[in-house]
């Protein structure tokens, strides 16, 4: 159960970082040829922040608060690296995260 919760926290952390990155023009363009609309970027930022927050909640649910905060901060580091390297070598993998999103007209 604990492992499952931590795995979920990790996944949410990666998703959160990826959405926050996709809200930036430069990373969006690595995934799609168009540009995100203002509102899409806002939604992405919101999704990203919510995921990161949910990840923190899961960490707090699993461990004593002193430990959970460390786990979450270190997870953020790991997730950022994963997202950055994915953008370097396999950016198209992230297209599933914005399949629903409309481009700017």
């Amino acid at each position: 159960m604990v492992n499952l919760l931590l795995a979920a926290a990790t996944l949410l952390c990666v998703l959160g970082c990826a959405w926050l990155a996709l809200a930036m023009d430069v990373h969006w363009k690595q995934v799609r040829t168009d540009q995100p609309s203002e509102s899409t970027a806002k939604v992405l930022r919101l999704l990203g922040s919510l995921s990161l927050f949910a990840s923190l909640v899961l960490c707090l649910f699993t461990d004593h608060a002193s430990m959970a905060s460390l786990v979450w901060v270190m997870l953020l580091a790991a997730a950022t690296l994963i997202v950055a390297f994915t953008f370097s070598w396999r950016p198209r993998l992230f297209s599933v995260l914005i399949f629903w999103a409309k481009a700017a007209s």
Binding site: D63, L70, M74, A77, L81, A84, W89
Partner: protein
């Protein structure tokens, strides 16, 4: 001196980072290995490859072992000039006995301190240490080196440079510089958030190296900052030794008053007394912890003034579910077993201190956080290594034009501290598996020889890096990078095979049994070897003048070796 703040920060970052980066590289890498120091010990001492054990019974097992102990020869020699007259044959007045274990220790480390008659200062103590099998009480040979906790870990904070404690001071200064480098790095960076997720391996070497430097520096910024800072907090007593210099009388008086307040005797009474059942005290301590909703094992057990009516027993809980280390001490009168004192809950300041030191020393039970710490440490290594490469890369044209040797020296030192350090690490593991169990009379101890192999390998790697560094003067790559990566790619599987041949523990077996201390290290070494091979191939392509893609990978590949 400089036109603006940013330029002065850049100067600070570049030059302090360059000089102390070589130290920080070792501190980060061996710190990352120290996260799994107990596991590396298992690899290095095959007789200790069994499951972690709880604190054994004091009454039946530990007491006879303690009674058979005496101070070590080194400790007696060390104290010799602090005593008037000759040293006694036997030491009978026991200041303290202690046993310490964690949830990762199959073996138990115990120590005993003895009063020295005729000492010039009253608190001169000589010490004896032993590592025992907690199931039987049998001691492990003294000359076996615990490569993880006894070599890599002290290397992390002292560089094994003990003369005048200089190693501690160098590491302390390097941590301070690390903090300054982080702050100045943030000032120089400008685009922390805009380029947070940016690594462009296909751009020029200089650009992609800087990307990787920024990326690894920024993502692990809280980690880098807190570890440099808490490292300084842990050794504050060494860096500001006021309690043993200017304020020694105050410190000593404080100890006496503290003893009065807590009811734990500061000195012996001089009246002999037997020891009651310590096992019963352990049961009582665990009952009291359980009442506070903190069930758990004993982490640290210590007796003071052994055999005296003032003697007392302190039992501390193993802090496996908290960041703080052992705590919740409960103290008993040794002769009767009555509770003298329960430690009060820590004050706010104590809690913060415990959190900061515990965060760095990590005795908790949380495997994912351990691996995340390794990741943080290795990210630090990549950050420093890419810093070196960027330094040379940025200046190589200018150096080539001037015919300067500066780039050559920096580059050779970078090879030494990146791939050379990894070779030395494999060197000590290989020596550990190849040296015979018993050495001929007159030879140094087995553990000492292993350490010589470590330093010897490193010196050879350094010589190789300098000898091959000529192309750097023309702005080309030092072939030592590739050659040492190849050496790593060969030696990594050799290390794992040697473990198999000498102990029978091959990966299929350790993985099948789920014995992760050995399987994990073997796997990490193999992964490191594969990454070194990939790096060597990239470097070859680049030396042959192909596009520079992947030129930065070698730093990453190199340091991920563990």
């Amino acid at each position: 001196m400089f036109q603006n703040f940013r330029l002065s920060m850049a100067w600070l970052h570049t030059w302090f980072g360059l000089v102390l980066g070589f130290v920080l590289m070792a501190v980060f890498f061996f710190g990352a290995l120290s996260v799994f120091d107990r596991e590396i010990d298992r690899w290095a001492i095959p007789e200790s490859r069994f499951e972690p054990q709880p604190m054994p019974s004091f009454d039946t097992l530990l007491k006879p072992v303690f009674e058979g102990m005496q101070p070590s020869k080194e400790s007696i020699d060390f104290a010799r000039d602090k005593v008037n007259g000759p040293m006694p044959e036997r030491f009978d007045t026991i200041v303290t006995w202690g046993a310490y274990t964690t949830h990762r220790d199959p073996v138990l480390t115990i120590f005993a301190g003895y009063e020295v008659p005729n000492a010039k200062e009253p608190d001169v103590t000589v010490w004896g240490n032993r590592t025992i099998d907690p199931r039987t009480g049998v001691a492990f040979p003294d000359d076996q080196l615990k490569i993880g906790s006894g070599f890599f870990y002290p290397l992390h904070y002292s560089l094994h440079f003990h003369w005048a404690n200089l190693g501690y001071w160098i590491v302390g200064f390097a941590s301070l510089v690390m903090l300054a480098a982080l702050v100045s790095g943030v000032v120089m960076h400008r685009k922390i958030f805009r380029e947070l997720f940016t690594f462009r391996p296909k751009k020029s070497t200089q650009r992609s190296t800087l990307d990787l430097h920024n990326l690894t520096g920024v993502v692990a910024l809280p980690f880098h900052f807190f570890f440099a800072f808490t490292g300084l907090v842990i050794f504050a007593g060494i860096y500001f030794p006021v309690s043993h210099t200017q304020m020694k009388p105050l410190h000593d008086q404080h100890e006496v008053i503290e003893a009065q307040e807590t009811g734990l005797p500061h000195d012996r009474a001089g009246v002999p007394a037997p020891i009651a059942s310590v096992d019963a005290m352990v049961v009582e301590a665990q009952r009291r912890w359980a009442e506070r909703g903190m069930g758990g094992d004993v982490g640290f057990l210590t007796l003071r003034h052994v055999g005296d009516t003032n003697g007392y027993v302190s039992i501390y809980r193993a802090g496996t579910d908290r960041i703080a280390l052992t705590g919740q001490g409960i103290h008993f009168k040794a002769s009767t077993g009555e509770v003298l004192r329960e430690d009060l809950p820590p004050t706010a300041v104590e809690s913060i201190n415990e959190f900061l030191t515990g965060l760095h020393l990590q005795h908790f039970r949380h495997w994912m956080l351990r691996w995340l710490y390794v990741l943080g440490g290795l990210a630090g290594c990549v950050c420093i290594a890419t810093g070196f490469i960027f330094f040379v890369e940025k200046r190589k044209r200018q150096y080539a034009k001037e015919g300067s040797q500066n780039g050559r020296i920096v580059d050779a030192l970078a090879v030494t501290t990146v791939t050379g350090m990894l070779l030395a690490t494999l060197g000590i593991l290989i020596a550990n598996r190849l040296l015979p169990a018993s050495l001929p009379f007159g030879w140094p101890g087995r553990g000492d020889l292993e350490e010589y192999f470590f330093w010897g390998t490193w010196v050879v790697a350094m010589a190789h890096a300098f000898l091959r560094s000529a192309p750097v003067v023309q702005g080309e790559i030092n072939p030592a990078w590739r050659e040492q990566c190849l050496a790593l790619a060969v030696l990594a599987p050799v290390t794992v095979i040697l473990n198999w041949v000498t102990t029978g523990d091959h990966l299929l077996k350790t993985l099948g049994e789920g014995y992760w201390p050995v399987a994990g290290l073997d796997l990490s070494i193999l992964v490191g070897g594969v990454l070194a091979l990939i790096a060597a191939r990239h470097l070859r392509r680049r030396e042959q003048g192909a596009p520079v893609q992947g030129a930065t990978d070698f730093a990453g590949a190199g340091v991920q070796h563990g």
